[in-house]
Symmetry: D2
Subunit: 304 residues, 4 copies
């Protein structure tokens, strides 16, 4: 194992000097208020040793990163049946997710784009009595941290403005690929996205994916095969239409969110979470991408 | 003028013998109950002489034909400003109207596809105090017939199942091209589509478009220029992705609806309404298309 | 009939004053040399009375206008069989003609877009012994003018640079919708587009389409039904993705070319040709569009 | 390291029993003649130990697998400048590669789809004096095997029928993203695709990509960073629109060809080549996919 402490320090200092720190997302009004100079990193290795720097302990809105967690929960609940309703191919197209949905008759390309995550949310709403409560309990167990919670302000903010998600859910419904009421599914979806977590908490939660399905406290949540598949989906689909770029520049499975967080991981070695709210034009954290690229270069560790 | 009485008779008999009468629309549950053997024609010439045959006097759900009437009312209210929010090009594409909307940043291709008609509905909801009531009054005045009304069952049926329209309206909203609340606009839109009219009533209403903007009772509703433009839009955009085919086979401006109605017209000569509920795969009345093709062949009258 | 002499004079003077005269096409190098201030109009009425102004007698490259003539010739040769290989719907999409071809398995949307015209060229190459010679003879007969000829420089210029047409022809070939050799078909196609004609000559040639298939010298070339159909296609497909706009603003069937020419016509009344080399962003002559809009406004004549 | 000998034996026997062996590609006439029951596997580990079974030593047409080798050669020649002309994102779309090219103004999605590989071919044609000869020498050096050669029959067969590739090259040319003559570039491209190699030879050649850029004979051909990037591109783009599925089911970077070959690899551990000519509907070897899925399951080795 490389000297992660030193590497994190170097990355942090170098990346902080970047002149372009991207732009904070404004499409969810509540997210627009986050100070753009926040920047934190946490890395947790397979031996449960952790390294951190900057605002690693401050909570932020994980947004799309939550899609990996709902996917994991849904796989645990209904297994391979998920793949009747959502595919595993990269979406490729930057701008027309709904048109892909139309062309492909209501089967979303993968579970990490919005339409796919809404189908996963629909599955959880079908399978769980109290989806919001039970999903949060799932996150508590996986992370071993019961302090993690939703940010209701963010959830309400998106509920009032997330028209593209309403469009996607209604389109899914028109193709028969949404079993529950649109409003009910999106209520859960907006809460799921509003999960508020720090870089440390994200590392603790994603430890599962580097440890063959066993969480920090050693409970089994997923099979080895399920973990491999989720990691594969993160690699090919985790960064919107910049998935190829991330694989090319960083070379790790991961998932980003418009709150400015990115989680990435090297199976059986480490997971890492970075947070910096400024986004690049493709919707991924500018400093987060730069930091992770430096990490795989300096550590000479990647899946490739 | 040709002998319309004889021509209508010939058309009616020949078309009735067609073995393929298409399939009644089922996507709005309430429409699926209409008996598929209904068939009526009415033709009204510029001299106000009318000719009819079959079920010409029975009311049916005009559906998309209403889009021409809301467009006319909106043009009367705000004039050319309409074209800032909706284009006048044929949509071309059979299957992915939402993707066109995405590619073109929320500006619908034309006011006769659903997304465009929803923008027009939004304009009426903005401009009118009581849109449902005032639009119905407009139809009463243009047609000179106060017995025309909405079919609430059809309106509710579509309200409960029209997910693609909810998707379109939310997508428009996400692009800022819907000023009012989605639910409010669609409530009006579903009522507008539920207008229940007979072939005779449709001819009386569309007389306006063959008479340079003056209705049956000689009131002015539109300018000559506005009528020409609406007629042009009907020709290029009135038949979903079969507009070219209709221009090619029939050669008249017109508009169809999934209720099985078609209105077509020759400016300064006549307008004609046909009703037969069975639709072809493109969503236009099978016998309606055949009857109108025979009409322009037998009468040797078309705009071309 | 209105006073066309006076109307043409008014149109010419008003349109000449337009500050924006568009930009001369440069993608065919040879066309880029044409002086951009050229401007001529000719109108020929059904009584064979003609009116002209400006550079009405100067020849220019008709380019896509020739597609109407090859279509007419092909319809005369093989009739309705054409429609097995090309559709009659507007293409709608501004930018991705090849993608439509892919989506629709090699059947071009209509015979007036490039891919469709290449299929028509292929038909002529199959049907004729000496396609270039025989097509020119056809134009000579229809127009009654044997001085019309190809511009070999323009043909060679496009042959050396028309890569999108090579792409389209090869794509057609890959779908089995091109029977002859790509190079052979495109050789004919580039010659056809290089036809050099004046506004007067265009009017003489297109007289056929206002006179129910009979040319100036009263020979029959097309049936009434064929003429109606070609006129319908011109209306819905004659102006690239500005067909709806042209129907809306002008209200006449017509066809434009990147040489800056436009022909338009009112069946049984008149045909008109305008030439001004500067194009708008959609590829249609800027002053040509403006002149024709004025013509239908001032004459109060349109198909609508 | 697992017992590869035993694993290969198990895989071979199990996969041979599959009832669906796919369909041999027929679009290149010369490939259609290959007997569909051919089936071979070779695995070479980082210690240069090799394991093989079945028709591992018989040569077949590597087709698209060659794209990885031309990419490697081009990266060695001009480095990062490649990425000005081709992107690194998965193409996503199964059916309309040319339309993506249109939408994205002539920049292919990645170097492993045909359009991207044609750009790479263009780079080699620009950089090399005798591209066919020098590329073959490159393959000889990397593999340490001078017996590898082109199959001229296959090259000519594709030259006479590869219309989609002519379409792609001309489209690239129209966007200025092809510097050399279309015919010249495609001549090289068809030869490159006709490379004839056995599973053993493919393993020897791809050893480079598991050994950080050093070939079997320990010469340096690529930097560590270049190898990582090519491996990343293979993972996200190596299997047409089944890349996500392959990552999900197999979890290794790799590349398939319509000749029925697949190469896959685990960096710093092993590379493996499988050959079975029958393809699945997405164009990847049916038995090849099944065999590789079994390999990563039985060996419990994958990048995830």
């Amino acid at each position: 194992m490389p000297d992660f402490k030193k590497i994190l320090h170097t990355i942090y200092e170098k990346t902080k000097q970047l002149s372009d720190t991207g732009r904070v997302a404004t499409y969810i009004p509540e997210l627009a208020c986050v100070p753009e100079d926040k920047f934190g990193i946490c890395l947790l290795d397979i031996e449960k040793e952790s390294y951190q720097i900057g605002d690693f302990d401050e909570r932020f809105s994980v947004q799309s990163i939550s899609k990996v967690l709902t996917l994991a929960m849904a796989m645990g609940l209904i297994g391979e049946k998920i793949w009747d309703r959502v595919d595993v191919e990269p979406s490729g197209d930057p701008f027309n997710h709904l048109s892909l949905l139309e062309q492909e008759n209501g089967i979303p390309r993968n579970p990490l784009i919005n339409a796919g995550a809404i189908v996963i949310a629909d599955i959880l709403v079908s399978e769980l009595k109290n989806p919001k409560k039970e999903f949060l309990e799932f996150v508590h167990k996986v992370s071993g941290d019961t302090s993690i919670s939703y940010d209701e302000k963010v959830a309400h903010s998106e509920k009032a403005t997330g028209f593209k998600n309403y469009a996607a859910a209604n389109l899914l419904k028109s193709y028969g690929n949404l079993k529950n009421d649109v409003i009910k599914v999106l209520d859960f979806y907006f809460y799921q996205c509003s999960l508020s977590m720090s870089c440390s908490q994200l590392c603790n939660t994603f430890y599962l994916f580097i440890n063959r399905g066993k969480c920090l406290k050693n409970y089994d949540f997923l099979t080895v095969s399920q973990v491999k598949r989720i990691n594969a989906i993160m690699l090919t689909c985790g960064f919107y239409d910049e998935a190829g770029e991330f694989a090319f520049e960083v070379g790790l499975p991961g998932k980003s969110g418009v709150g400015g967080g990115i989680v990435a991981l090297l199976p059986r070695k480490f997971c890492v979470a970075v947070w910096s709210p400024g986004l690049n034009p493709k919707g991924n954290s500018t400093r987060g991408m730069a930091a992770l690229e430096r990490l795989t270069t300096l550590s000479d560790l990647s899946i490739f």
